[in-house]
Symmetry: D2
Subunit: 344 residues, 4 copies
């Protein structure tokens, strides 16, 4: 089959490579000419402009956008003049699904089809395949099936569940038509919200173990802090790289993210390459806002999101005001920076 790819960053380039390996013809475009040239050397057809891209694709066209979510609308504005009724635009990036619903309507009025695809797999997708969550019209999604199948990990990527044979479909192959416009990015959004929660679960737990030697540290007694009541309970120097490793086998919490934890701790046990400022990229926020819209509790995902905000000190004003209140009612002055949490 044939696909036009717009946006050849890390993700777009690797998806193109995976399609080419499976024999699909890829016509590629990126603002950075070098990115186009690099993939051309690997067999893709390079395009010098959006117009050129449209011209090099057979009709009806299928175009896969892999650009930052904030750039999709302007890209659609530039692209659509070169498209014709029946063409399909696929947004494979991290768009907010609300935008999908709006865009699908806008494109429909010009006879164009829109498909939203949430993609998980990151830098590992080229090798392992991408998990694809797809939203759009049924017939259109089915027309693109070979492209999805080529990107996805395939059924062999996980053991078959007993009884699954009674429920056929593509889910077992690693891609799924989740519903109408927006459903793909909605499911991907929630996927990422869950991801935030799982990641936070591991780091909270390991942070506790990291501090399990607090009883060895001295503590002063004053009226502002509470001493560790049982220092004997916190005398452990735990090797976290080994703990992550042992959990990878047979434990209830084994997972791909745990594999990454084990890998990261093995490579850099003190994590000295990182300062601890954790970005968040939209889906976590939208997941929380959807939960609030729907009136369903999401305390775990919210806590995970807020921990990322806190890692960037976005509550500095709030903390200062807490200190100011404590000063007002108790004459408490702030303590100087401590050596470690044991001292709080």
């Amino acid at each position: 089959m044939e696909i036009g790819v717009i946006g050849l960053g890390r993700m777009g380039a690797n998806m193109t490579r995976r399609w080419q390996r499976k024999g699909h013809r890829c016509v590629v475009y990126d603002l950075h000419r070098e990115a186009v040239e690099a993939l051309s050397r690997e067999g893709a057809v390079g395009a010098a402009s959006l117009e050129d891209l449209a011209g090099k694709l057979g009709k009806p066209r299928a175009l896969w956008l892999m650009v930052p979510a904030g750039a999709v609308d302007s890209m659609l504005g530039e692209l659509t003049p070169y498209l014709e009724p029946g063409d399909i635009v696929i947004d494979g990036g991290n768009s907010y699904y609300h935008d999908d619903i709006r865009r699908a309507g806008e494109l429909k009025s010009r006879g164009l089809h829109y498909v939203d695809v949430g993609t998980s797999g990151g830098v590992w997708g080229l090798e392992c395949g991408y998990c694809l969550m797809i939203g759009g019209e049924k017939a259109v999604v089915e027309r693109l099936d070979p492209l999805f199948e080529a990107l996805a990990p395939g059924a062999e990527a996980a053991e078959r569940l007993p009884g699954r044979e009674k429920k056929p479909g593509t889910a077992e192959k690693g891609y799924l038509h989740c519903g109408p416009h927006g459903a793909g990015h909605l499911v991907k959004m929630v996927h990422n919200g869950i991801e935030y929660g799982i990641m936070a679960s591991y780091v909270e737990g390991l942070n506790i173990l990291h501090h399990a030697n607090a009883g060895k540290l001295g503590r002063e007694i004053d009226s502002e802090t509470t001493p560790l009541r049982e220092p004997a309970h916190y005398q452990y120097d735990i090797d976290l790289a080994d703990v992550a490793e042992v959990w990878r086998r047979g434990s209830v919490i084994r997972s791909w993210l745990l594999d990454l934890v084990a890998k990261a701790m093995l490579e850099d046990p003190k994590l000295e390459r990182f300062a601890g400022r954790v970005s968040d990229s939209g889906e976590g926020r939208w997941t929380v806002q959807a939960a609030v819209d729907l009136g369903v509790p999401a305390p775990v995902i919210s806590s995970a999101l807020y921990a990322r905000f806190s890692s960037r000190q976005h509550e500095e004003f709030a903390n200062k005001l807490l200190s100011a209140m404590r000063y007002e009612f108790g004459g408490h002055l702030e303590k100087k920076a401590e050596e470690g949490p044991g001292a709080s």
Copy 2:
């Protein structure tokens, strides 16, 4: 009545002053001789040692300890040799109520009585009176009634509730025998847990208003951060000192802590005197641990407590590990420190 006071810090000294104003005889002791001398000049009887203190009190003695929680046990060890059966030791500090239960048993074996008193009021107590939460044997607590009444704010400190006349007792006067040994510090512990939650509620809300101008700040578009979708919604420069002030009158959230917020914001609108490292002094932690023991949810108080831990960067390792995981699965490198939360 007569009371021996051990520990003449901020709290102990002011309580002594309040008793003296109400005509009670105070014999006072502190490791710092100047503290004793200062109160002696205000009419208290100074003691040079614990033995001297015990000697200057009529029997059965009543001794009020106002020392850091971590110092109570050693103080009891030094003090009890000078005491006699029937004497009463009152711990007016911030002890963990588990310790009260233990200490009451230990002292009982020597014929001594123990009373635990949780005290709220801080630096304002001298003027407004102290709210007292009391645990211990009924007869012993009743014997000390004049001392409690003298410290407490009195019924006039709040408007009488309709129907309250049918439920007599001291609660309306600002002191309460809450139950057996430990009950006073238990109720005070939970009081402080609630205090953490209320304080956090105000600062979270005001922090949101503090950032309500985020839409005026520029935002770059990249694949790591999500742009503010509706900058027009965040174009407000809110005067928080005025907001706190207006809420003091007629609003549902008026409170004494809000008075302090308004005062702090009025004095120092940018809170430049504070760095935002917020201490916690035991009761918040114990409240959470009690909730967990009992299997009752306490997400608000827990969140307030954790925000204090975070203000002291106790999750630094966890944040670094989050960054490491993001690097492993997505090749995400940490972003440099941002100018403000709008940019995340």
Copy 3:
């Protein structure tokens, strides 16, 4: 001054009464004719229709809407045909401030002014005054000043803060022009978010004390539940009505909401009139969504909101799925309903 009032529910009727007491002329309208008649008997001018209302007001008109947030837009659609350039429409209800921004723009195109007023005070406002948070154009807000002053509690409702005389303005009187369109409902929104957090703080703490007798209840030992390690720590029967009462005087957590807690516990110590299904009415949700938009942590307010969702069993599916997972990995069957939390 003169004001037209649309919506004579609990809030609208009492605000009318308060204006009338201060000598303002009120022309009133409501879909329910009896509500109009009732206020007419108290001296208001009744209107039979929106057209009638508009005809009975001098120009430029000031109209105060006190209708459910979901009904404001349709009401504006019906009302504006009867209005003329220079007229002012005030939304005193609980609108989302996003809507204020939009409506102000829509009305401006017809020469009409819009003012948003967040109002706190509930059923107590008639007697104590309403705390008013106001958004809109400066000149328009100033024109309405007598109406705001009449509704507000006045400076005497709280003690003056030291130094406040240097910062003049209306905040001390209980009403505040917070900023441009939307600012009033924004500040009210956050006010309610804080309110959720404070309310949750009290009930969490008191719930812990409510269960402080868990050690008296028997516990069985099996592999599914953990026994209470120290039953001796939970042997207390705490009188919560008395605890709330004692906290009202001198404690750090005294507040108007605590007064209500004390009142509620006094009237109905077992709270038998309530089943525990707690509504939420928009502002709490919007506060959390604003925090998420802005990237600032709001764990306490979020937790308080989610507790309300949970009180209405909105996580039932989630809980069932948790049970299903436990069954899958451990063969754990669900336990039957317990007698009390001590048994978990």
Copy 4:
């Protein structure tokens, strides 16, 4: 090697079977004679009493206790009279690690060794192996190595990490000596805390998707509830069994627990076998309490724990009090049970 096994429930029986398959001699005892007989038929040596068990084991003995945590101390009291210096007692259950520290000291005074082993794997352990987290004296743990190796899943259970060859040890085989007495159950405790967080992450996310059709449900407008602002955003009927299935391949959140989610949703898409009362068995609670002891934030794990408490309605009193407060300040009466969350 030889091992005595006490406690032949689900876990103890399967561990015995796994040892026997690897050629170890198992002498087994349980209060229920049938359990002993069943394993005897599979080749184990049955014991009629603890004395009989001790007599049938060569010296120095190794005894593996697999009994409920609450029964370990009494079991040790009954067992130790039959033991001799040099014997090893292993607690393979879910003991609190504080108890391990105490017990190790008590047994040491009698010349006995104590080893604590946290075990993960549940009903799947027989087939897949058990992940073992071990605490105790180095030499003693090493002596037991063949028993641990036999239980553990083995290196082949997960792909080797690049660079792991430079860090030898048993972690790769699925068992780990984590540190001195208590370290095994400490690491297992945190493992379970993480497990709570991960499980909650999945169910929160899936619960959001479960409600993604809320926009199709009707909503009434009143002043107590907020309408769904954009019903068009919530028109999705998501097949959660398929979503869980697709995430199993290539997604960032693939895990063993996700496999179980997919299995559970496939077997019983409406989860009709479950009421949603979720037990918690100690480790989650202790993890939170350790975090609080150490002053490190654990909001995600805490939220997950509290969600379980809430699933058992342990905050009923708190919710009633919230309703009572709302009634006091706003005259809000409780709404009747709703049809669904969309209506809140």
